[in-house]
């Protein structure tokens, strides 16, 4: 995996700072411009033709304004926030674990969310007495609680957050274990397979203004402590001993950042299901384009992740409209291809 550059901090070197700063500014501006462009495009792309959508924009009636302002706009804004949270969570994961392949779901949150959703679907389907609570939660609540429970289980298994290797291992174990339970449950009730599949492949279709509100608040709540602790991540990238010798309290740093990571991932999973690759690719895209320290990365990765998921959402609803592709399938395809190209280019350079 040496082909991928780890999250190396470029500690403030005045010689390069100005150059990097302007490149970064240009890059961030480009991200914002793309986001604005995609947001505008999202008003025109849906189940109707471009001309019809344009007509709706110019002469809205009751129904078309519902579609434009209650469905399309919150969907695309919500997709941005979800992508931003994934980008942020990915950048944090790669920094905390000092591993360029770390991604938001590595503590078992995705499998936990899937199990939660399965329980809720089974309960809704069969009105099982003992599971009635899971049915009432709905998919969103069940996913969020499942994700949190899985992360808690991972941290318990690794006896805290200090040992990177055992945390990663515990995450893998928990993910496998919970997936196995999910599969066994699904076997007993094949009717919920399709709904489950829809969740596993991500779904931006039902994002409303209230989801946008929730995602927005969580984004700010996650971004602030992450940026405040970015210096710690820079120090951590030089090694745990160095970080400690610089006077950092590793337990506090890691616990806070993993808390942020968990909150961001669980909220996103609850709202849009499991969307792969955005959290992994967004930080890489930032580092590929500009050399950054962690503060810049923690701002750049969300901007990039947001635009990525927005674009994937547009593709998913446009390519076979009025039907749509699962958004996670789009991100996985694009993200997978990107990583292959990245690996190939690196191998050639070395």
């Amino acid at each position: 995996m040496s082909a991928l550059r780890p999250g190396v901090a470029e500690l403030d070197l005045p010689l390069f700072a100005a150059n990097t700063g302007s490149r970064l500014a240009a890059w961030l501006a480009a991200c914002i411009a793309i986001t604005l462009l995609l947001t505008a495009a999202s008003l025109l792309i849906g189940t109707s033709s471009l001309e019809t959508s344009l007509g709706w924009l110019l002469n809205p009636d009751a129904q078309s304004s519902v579609i434009l302002w209650q469905i399309r706009l919150p969907r695309t804004v919500g997709a941005w926030f979800a992508g931003a949270l994934l980008g942020l969570a990915g950048a944090i994961a790669q920094g905390v674990f000092r591993n360029p392949l770390a991604e938001p779901y590595l503590l078992g949150s995705a499998s936990g969310a899937a199990l939660g959703v399965t329980l809720s679907l089974l309960a809704a389907d069969a009105s099982l007495g003992g599971l009635a609570w899971a049915g009432k939660l709905g998919v969103t609540g069940a996913a969020c609680i499942g994700a949190c429970a899985a992360i808690a289980l991972t941290i318990m298994l690794s006896r805290g957050v200090l040992a990177t290797a055992s945390l990663l291992l515990a995450g893998i174990v928990v993910a496998f274990l919970l997936s196995a339970v999910t599969s066994l449950l699904l076997l007993s009730k094949p009717d919920v397979w399709r709904a489950m599949q829809a969740f596993l492949l991500g779904n931006t279709g039902f994002l409303s203004w209230s989801s946008v509100g929730l995602l927005g608040v969580v984004f700010i709540v996650c971004l602030l402590p992450a940026v405040l602790l970015s210096r710690g991540l820079d120090a951590l990238s030089l090694g745990e001993d160095t970080a400690q010798s610089l006077g950092l309290s590793l337990p506090v740093l890691r616990l806070t950042l993993l808390g942020v990571l968990s909150l961001a991932t669980a909220t996103t999973v609850g709202q849009v299901g499991i969307v792969g690759f955005v959290g992994l690719v967004a930080p890489h895209l930032v580092r590929e384009t500009v050399s950054v320290n962690h503060r810049q990365l923690l701002i750049g990765a969300p901007l990039c992740g947001g635009a990525l998921l927005q674009a994937a959402d547009l593709v998913s609803r446009w390519i076979i409209h009025p039907a749509e592709l699962p958004v996670g399938a789009v991100t996985a395809t694009v993200g997978g291809v990107y990583l292959v190209v990245l690996l190939w280019r690196r191998n050639r350079h070395e």
Binding site: A62, I71, A124, G135, L187, R194, A198, G205, F206, A323
Partner: protein, 300 residues
Amino acid sequence: MTILDARANAIRAAALRAAALLALAWATAAQANVVRDDLGRDVRFDHPPLRVIALLPSITETVCALDACDRLVATDRYSNWPPQVKALPKAGGLDDAEIELIVSLKPDLVLLSRSQRITDRLGDLGIKTFALNSDRYSDIAHNIRVIGEILGLDERARGLSESIAADVQSIAAGAHRAHSGRAPSVYFEVDTAPYAAGPASFIGELLTRLGAHNIVSSDLGAFPKLNPEYVVQHNPDVIFVSGTEAGHLAARPGWATIRAVREQRFCSFSAEVDDTIVRPGPRVADGMRALADCLERVSP
């Protein structure tokens, strides 16, 4: 009785036995039945099978509707009708059939759906399989005829098919009368992704027969994953949705403006009734009646 007489008797008896054997062989040959299955294979039946395993609920139901339930020695785990099949051994699901159990039951025929991987495996083990499609309305009559032919119950099959067709026709005619000219537009949600049942699906075919207008166009396929705004845009009169989900529809962005949601025009069915709606089998008239009753009750 002389020795000669005895010999003549013996010869006569032997000749008679030979003639009887020949006649039996001829009769068997005349009965040997070659039937083409939905994989395009010609399957030969020297005598009607007496130990049958059905690996699809609609096929189990068809066998039983032909009064041949007593020939079943096992079913798949989802077959639950008629009630007596619940007591039979369960040989797994559609794609994870229990080969060992099937072999140990020594069936002389396994009826299964076309997509099943186990057809080859069972064939290798010397077990006769017969594959049937069971996704469309037209598969019902076809499967009744073919299974009747294999089981030697042609007459019964013909009667069953005719009575189902008559029931379906009368329910459809009643439904058309009920909404006299103004076809209600309907959206059938298979699950919350949202996947819809299009006109090309079995459920969609039933709705079309009832004169309902499906908001999903047929070019989208049997069960398309819709962009939710499609449903808002097409504003259906009636929504078929699970009972638990019906209460949540108004919370989906923009859906509170849909007529069916505004006026609470929902159709939800119990799991038992659902089985008759989603299985292309001999209980299709029951399923259609459930759909028609609800449409009549809630249509504007």
